[in-house]
């Protein structure tokens, strides 16, 4: 992993090379996170490139990406480690006879107990440990980028459990003790704000809010992602989407949807936003029937050149 970043500009230009166009806020967050070794909490509406940011950062730092997708009911066993219960049980059964051999000449119960204790924690050793993403990230030799995606979907307990990891880069496993990170990972947490995260978590993180991009930035993003698109069409497209976002919609079009739409328009060989083309392809942008209806009604206004 790259350890030193010279400046915010370096982040920005490297991200741009990867096709991730970002503003100063985002580049600064990555820069500070890498310099201060602090986790970053990324919030914002869905589809503004929160997850992409972690991927771009991993590519930029030349580090492996470890991803943990959160969901309701996620617990330590899925996130950190699990014992291979099946294997443990299988081994006890297979070793039953061996056990008899070992204990065969012990005359009393106490002697057998002592002999058993002499074998140590054979069944709670690394052999039977199934590492999950968090433990993988901690045990990785090369400092990885750890992406904890949609942390707001996980429960309160899990959030509390993460606190130790986020502040000291270590976790406690009851049977093994404390596992400290071999190399400190760069952590990105993303949240769609379906619930308020705890203050304790926020305190430990840098906080980045990514809003929908403004027109100019969105144009640049389209240019980077769909290079074959015509410049004037790109301009119209960004204007259209930004006007669309000002409407009262159930779900606002995300950047990813804008890109999909741009690709579709290129495939259709469109060179300008004609009402018929928009009408036919609007579904790529708006996913709710009500939104479609209200957007269609407003179409002339939305398409009006500046």
């Amino acid at each position: 992993m790259k350890t030193r970043i010279a400046s915010v500009e370096e982040v920005r230009s490297d991200f741009a090379r990867q096709g991730y166009i970002c503003d100063d806020d985002i580049a600064m967050a990555v820069f500070l996170a890498a310099q201060l070794r602090k986790p970053v909490l990324v919030e914002g509406p869905p589809g503004v490139g929160k997850t992409e940011l972690a991927k771009a950062a991993a590519a930029f730092l030349n580090a492996p990406l470890v991803r943990l997708q959160c969901y309701e009911g996620l617990d330590e066993a899925r996130a950190l480690y699990e014992w291979k219960y099946g294997k443990q049980l299988l081994y006890t059964q297979l070793l039953k006879e061996k056990l008899a051999d070992v204990l065969g000449d012990a005359s009393t119960l106490e002697a057998s107990m002592q002999r058993l204790a002499g074998f140590g924690d054979a069944f709670y050793s690394e052999e039977f440990l199934q590492p999950r993403p968090l433990l993988q990230a901690l045990r990785s030799d090369d400092p990885p980028v750890l992406l904890i995606d949609e942390i707001d979907k996980a429960d309160q307990e899990f959030e509390a459990f993460l606190l130790e990891l986020l502040s000291d880069y270590q976790v406690s496993i009851p049977e093994l003790g404390t596992v400290t990170a071999r190399s400190e990972p760069l952590v990105f947490l993303t949240s769609n704000n379906t619930r308020e995260l705890s203050d304790a978590l926020k305190r430990r993180c840098l906080h980045l809010y990514i809003p929908f991009p403004d027109r100019k930035l969105e144009e640049q993003i389209i240019a980077a992602r769909v290079p074959e698109i015509d410049a004037s069409l790109r301009k119209q497209l960004a204007l259209f989407v930004s006007r669309l976002r000002q409407m009262d919609l159930k779900k606002q079009p995300a950047i990813s949807e804008t890109i999909d739409w741009a690709r579709a328009l290129v495939l259709l060989n469109a060179d300008a936003l004609a009402p018929e083309t928009v009408e036919a392809t609007l579904r790529l942008l708006l996913k709710h029937e009500e939104d479609l209806v209200s957007a269609r009604a407003e179409l002339p206004r939305l398409l009006k050149p500046e």
Partner: protein, 462 residues
């Protein structure tokens, strides 16, 4: 410009309502080390990432940053040497210049050489004046301003630090001589004083807001609910308290926790197969589906408490989805429908309820009987019944047998009384008759007590 500036900025930030912890302050200091003070926009971006952790906080941060550094910026530039006599002002001192603020070395003397300040005023050099003012503000430690009455004092100190004393003497001399140059100079001095007062005002708003707000909030939590309507931003406070409660109790009702082996059950089950664990059992937690019935006395003596209880209960709607509310004064009825569709902000709905049901002549026995008749079937072992009222029954029979039935049928009855414990049972209060059937009976005279109650309730229900 350094740690001291940063600490003052963070204090101003807290005053603007952005919560900043000590750990975050340390982070900010490290950030400043990385970024430096030189590039303002960059510093702003970096600090916003470190200090403001919600979207509203970011907006507040941006405003506060601009207010704070707009003036500090001009202080950073060294004061241009306005003449050979310009006193060397101790640079943009974080150490804080002489507290006495005796900057106005009256060295203009008798030769008639005008003082530095007079020269600046005569030249009308705005930039230099502003820089000088900024330095004077630092020398006078204006950031220490606490109360509004100190404004005059600090304004005077700033003027002194800028060298007003020398200027005044000079002005006096000019005017006595009848020199025409005195008139524009006098006008310039007045304008300057205005400007200084404005700046001190700004600083007061920035710095003193923190303490003022903390004080207000503490007062709001402790004041009797009846008098609370006199505060303007009490709704916001209730919302904030509710949000905090909700955050700490949200999503606790979890379903199965697959992944943790239930050793006891696995071993018990394995006995059947001669000790071979054929089936693994996993730990599960059960989700309770609590239902809350809240009955509010809305007669004039208790209405204020009822308002805030309802506001609270509907503000934590996300974690307490099944609330049915009833109101009574002279008549009794269910008011749950008022709150349907008013997500988050229940203020309007509460107003409507109070307007519709307000009255006097409460009859608790009649209310309990009606509640029992309507809801007998709905009550079960997961129902919590909350009654808010002063139990002052106008000397009618208390009818505690109805409460007994309700409490036997439901999980628990909780009573909130807006009067202090010492007054329960005095006069026509029937509280002692009801007490045996309540799991908890608590006074709720102010927001702090109400918050504690809702916290208790949520903890208990999940």
């Amino acid at each position: 410009m350094s740690t001291a500036t940063l600490t003052r900025f963070i204090k101003a930030l807290r005053g603007a309502g952005v919560p900043v912890s000590t750990a975050e302050t340390l982070d900010a200091a490290r950030v400043v080390e990385q970024i430096g003070f030189a590039d303002r926009t960059r510093l702003k971006t970096a600090l916003a990432i470190t200090l403001a952790k919600t979207w509203p906080d970011k907006l507040r941060f941006s405003q506060c940053f601009d207010d704070f550094f707009q003036f500090a910026a001009s202080a950073a530039q060294p004061a241009p040497a306005a003449g050979p006599t310009a006193p060397p002002q101790g640079g943009a001192g974080d150490a804080g210049g002489g507290g006495s603020g005796a900057g106005g070395q009256g060295e203009q003397g008798e030769q008639g050489e005008p003082s530095a300040l007079a020269q600046l005023l005569a030249q009308g050099d705005r930039a230099a004046l502003e820089a000088r003012m900024a330095q004077a503000m630092q020398a006078a430690k204006v950031w220490q301003i606490r109360v509004i009455t100190q404004k005059g004092l600090f304004a005077r100190r700033v003027m002194q630090a800028m060298g007003a004393q020398a200027l005044d003497e000079e002005l006096l001399a000019l005017e006595q001589r009848g020199d025409p140059a005195a008139i524009p100079l006098r006008a310039a001095r007045t304008a300057l004083q205005q400007q200084v007062i404005e700046q001190v005002n700004r600083e007061f708003l920035l710095q003193a807001r923190a303490e003022g707000q903390g004080l207000r909030e503490r007062a709001m939590r402790e004041v009797n609910l009846r008098d609370l309507h006199e505060f303007r931003d009490v709704q916001a406070l209730v919302q904030r308290m509710a949000r905090r409660l909700m955050a700490s109790h949200s999503r606790r009702q979890q379903t199965a926790r697959r992944g943790t082996l239930d050793m006891r059950r696995t071993l018990t089950a394995s006995v059947r197969h001669d000790g071979l664990p054929m089936r693994l059992h996993w730990k599960k937690t059960r989700r309770t589906r609590a239902q809350v019935f809240v009955i509010c006395d809305v007669s004039s003596s208790v209405a204020a408490a009822a308002r805030f209880l309802l506001l609270f209960l509907y503000a934590v709607n996300d974690v307490l989805p099944r609330v049915r509310s009833f109101a009574f004064a002279s008549r009794f009825g269910e008011v749950s429908t008022f709150f349907d569709g008013s997500s988050g902000d229940a203020t309007a709905a509460v107003d409507q309820v109070l307007a519709e049901y307000a009255g006097s002549g409460t009859d608790y026995a009649g209310m309990l009987e009606q509640f029992w008749c309507v809801n007998e079937a709905a009550l079960n072992s997961q129902a919590t019944v909350i009654i808010l009222g002063d139990a002052r029954n106008n000397n009618l029979p208390p009818g505690q047998q109805w409460l007994q039935r309700i409490s036997e049928r439901s999980r628990q009855v909780l009573w909130l009384n807006p009067e202090g414990r010492s007054r329960w049972g005095s006069g026509d209060s029937e509280m002692p008759a009801y007490l045996p059937y309540c799991r908890h009976a608590l006074p709720c005279r102010n927001l702090a007590q109400l918050e504690r109650f809702v916290d208790l309730l949520l903890k208990d229900l999940h």
